[in-house]
Amino acid sequence: MLNLFQLVLQIAVILVAARVVGFLFQKINQPQVMGEMVAGILLGPSLLGWLAPGVSAALFPPASLAYLNALSQVGLVVFMFVVGLALNPTELHGYGHAAVLTSHVSIVAPFCLGGLTALYLYPRLSDDGVTFTGFALFMGAAMSITAFPVLARILTERGLVRSRMGTLAIACAAVDDVTGWCILAYIVVLVRVSHASRPAWVTIAGSILYVLVMLFVVRRLLPAFERAFRRRGELSDNLVAVIVVLVLVSALATEWLGIHLLFGAFLMGAIMPKTPDFVNYLLHKFESVTVVLLLPLFFAFTGLRTRIGVGGGSAIWLYSAMVIVVAITGKLGGSMFAARLAGMPWREAASLGILMNTRGLMELVILNIGLDIGVISPVMFSIMVLMALVTTFMTTPLLEWVYPSRLLKAQVVEAEKNVA
């Protein structure tokens, strides 16, 4: 039964922890979201449950977590809409050979390395309830992801959004995200179809029909929102509510089809009109509650499922090191060499690789889906969460080391001069 006092207490504790740790991380030049992710881990068995098991059990009893999960899932649905909304596929246009090559290699290289790593990890961290194909595909997809929102925030905080490298990184990350989510949708269908009561063809045909309806029917109706926005300079509460309902209906459609709630929310955001002031208006409307209130709940729920250093023995640290090295080699190395092959100077190519290696909370979203559908084990989940934290944490200091701010800012000034 719902214990409202406990739920409100949990939310309060999570928000305080997220803000405090986020603030401390900002002090060491990390994005706020990195601190919020770490706060979630600290509230779980990896720290609070280890240092004060009594407090942890009283504050987060297992029976209460279903409510926290439900709230965090609602937050993720809105957040994925926001991620889709911020994506602009046309951004890739105009960056030519470098963007196309880098974005493709930055998916293929980590995907292949992730699949190869699965050969070693499958017998050690999985079980015969999961096929090797499902496990390997998931590992590939999880290694390939770039955290588009975190990347955008890092670039904004460093004033690099308008630099050549910044715009290229955003464009490549957008392509990576769309591709990564398509791969993940395929894996979820592959995994769920074997258990679903409805035949596979219903899921596949239904998914194709859903995408076609979204692209060729719903998308053509959405500019009406933009026109209403132009007329009044804002949207009425009723129109905002209609957008929310459309997001929820799209999410429910993909969940019913057996893909996942989040895909529907993401696609709804992706097909919204992309006029900058309209997008900014909607981002402002949706982002604050999601980012301040609901995302920290998701980080905490993720942290409560993560057991870094708890159980599994010393081999777990070896597997963790291996996953981190493979993830960095595939994503950072792959992107860097592709950018270099496309003619970028080494320093810029390396910086682009570092930026593309940021996995952030998109990785956590994917990992939670993987754990929910049972394609990865709890220990594999913890290892991958650690990898997500390490690759996100290393971005800012490594970028500063390879390409100091003063040089990057000079590039921005030069780019602005050229535009003028």
Binding site: G115, A118, L119, Y122, P123, R124, L125, S126, D127, D128, G129, V130, T131, F132, T133, G134, F135, A136, F138, L190, V191, R192, S194, H195, G311, G312, G313, G370, D372, I373, G374, V375, I376, S377, P378, V379, M380
Partner: protein, 112 residues
């Protein structure tokens, strides 16, 4: 690719346990509630949590079709997805108690 690679038998999930009705171990059995076992598995390692009111946790290993923990040994039998556990529990002050465990309906698993 990966056709020759075998992973350990799957035992993760919640298990309902039937003990030998002839067992004489009231002190050990009276504390347990169904589902008695909750198993979190990662490869050949597993954490078994007993539903005994204290959430006693046992580290276990799976070798072939054998599950072994400090106070429990069992054989994993049956087809994939329909595994059962058959073995013995060691309760303090009692002779080992035979049991048979069946897994409750699982959450959807990856590509089984």
């Amino acid at each position: 690719m990966g056709k020759g690679i075998a992973a350990p038998l799957s035992i993760g999930g919640e298990w309902t346990v039937q003990f030998d009705p002839a067992a004489n171990c009231a002190s050990g059995l009276s504390r347990l509630r169904q589902p008695v076992l909750s198993i979190s598995q990662s490869g050949p390692g597993a954490l078994i949590t007993l539903n005994d009111g204290r959430s006693t946790t046992l580290a276990a290993t799976i070798t072939g079709a054998t599950l072994a923990a400090a106070s429990l040994t069992a054989t994993i039998a049956g087809k994939p997805g329909e595994h059962v556990l058959e073995g013995k529990f060691d309760f303090d002050g009692c002779a080992p108690v035979a049991f048979r465990a069946t897994r409750q309906a699982q959450a959807k698993k990856g590509g089984e």
